[in-house]
Symmetry: C2
Subunit: 138 residues, 2 copies
DNA sequence: TGTATTTCTCATGATAAAATGATAAATAGG
DNA sequence: CCTATTTATCATTTTATCATGAGAAATACA
């Protein structure tokens, strides 16, 4: 469902949420815990830092940490940079029609729209905190 | 959401449904209608034929046609060969954990399970006929 | 039997995603 | 100031997806 990259990003974000306020966490630490390629994860976290989602600190005792509390981070913010189509409204048509909309619907429009909206609101309403606390789905 | 290949397959299947019982339809015909690469579509349709979903006829007045009526074809059958992870239960975990299950759930398990089930039942319950007739979502 | 038509099959190329490796830049702490 | 540590950056490789092209195999029809 998620691209490999988005999946790594989300898993790392969950990890950082679990250790929120412990100070910066090293890429090496996260990468080995998650069994994910170190340099690749490094680039992913850097991208999230540029987005303002993470804070990065260089040098000894440096690393990455969440820039705001897990309760303030819907997972769509973690996923969007790497899987924009899944999270945003663009390319919403199951059949890939650019012009697809209520006015000019494709064959799947109404049926698919319902499901798609559920997926999108899942990403919008699920915060990192809810994941970490394993709050049941509403 | 769908891979390019699965999307082409689904669009072609919708096209074939609209012209069900008109006899074999040429790849060239479908490809130009859908504005999809001819040889690429050819391979996709061939794969669906090997799966038993389509019947292919070679030679003059040949082409592809649905092997059974559109009402008997859930779109998961069209998508599965090209996007197996989306449709089947395998790799159901949002965080990519192989062992993820009710007994050993990942952080997202319960919340994501609800949404995922909705997506899967959409693909299982939506037939080509429902798409072509544009029946409203239940 | 011959010819045009069409799928079948394989070889190749183009592009994007995923992963690796090496070096530069910053910084904490002795 | 020096050194170890850590992120930042860039170049490259690997792998998968998307796409093109050419010829082989089958078949309808004259």
């Amino acid at each position: 469902m998620l691209s490999q990259t988005a999946e790594y990003a989300l898993r790392a974000a969950v990890e950082l949420s679990e250790r929120y306020e412990e100070g910066p966490i090293r890429v090496d630490d996260i990468a080995s815990r998650l069994a994910v390629p170190r340099n690749y994860l490094s680039k992913i976290l850097h991208a999230l830092a540029k987005d303002g989602l993470l804070r990065s600190t260089r040098g000894p005792s440096g690393g990455f940490e969440l820039a705001r509390p897990p309760s303030k981070i819907p997972i769509e913010d973690v996923i969007r940079p790497f899987d924009p189509g899944l999270v945003s409204g663009a390319r919403a048509c199951l059949l890939g029609r650019k012009a697809c909309g209520d006015a000019d619907p494709c064959a799947a429009h109404s049926r698919w729209g319902v499901v798609r909206a559920q997926v999108q609101s899942f990403f919008a309403e699920t915060t990192l905190e809810k994941l970490v606390r394993r709050v049941a789905h509403v």
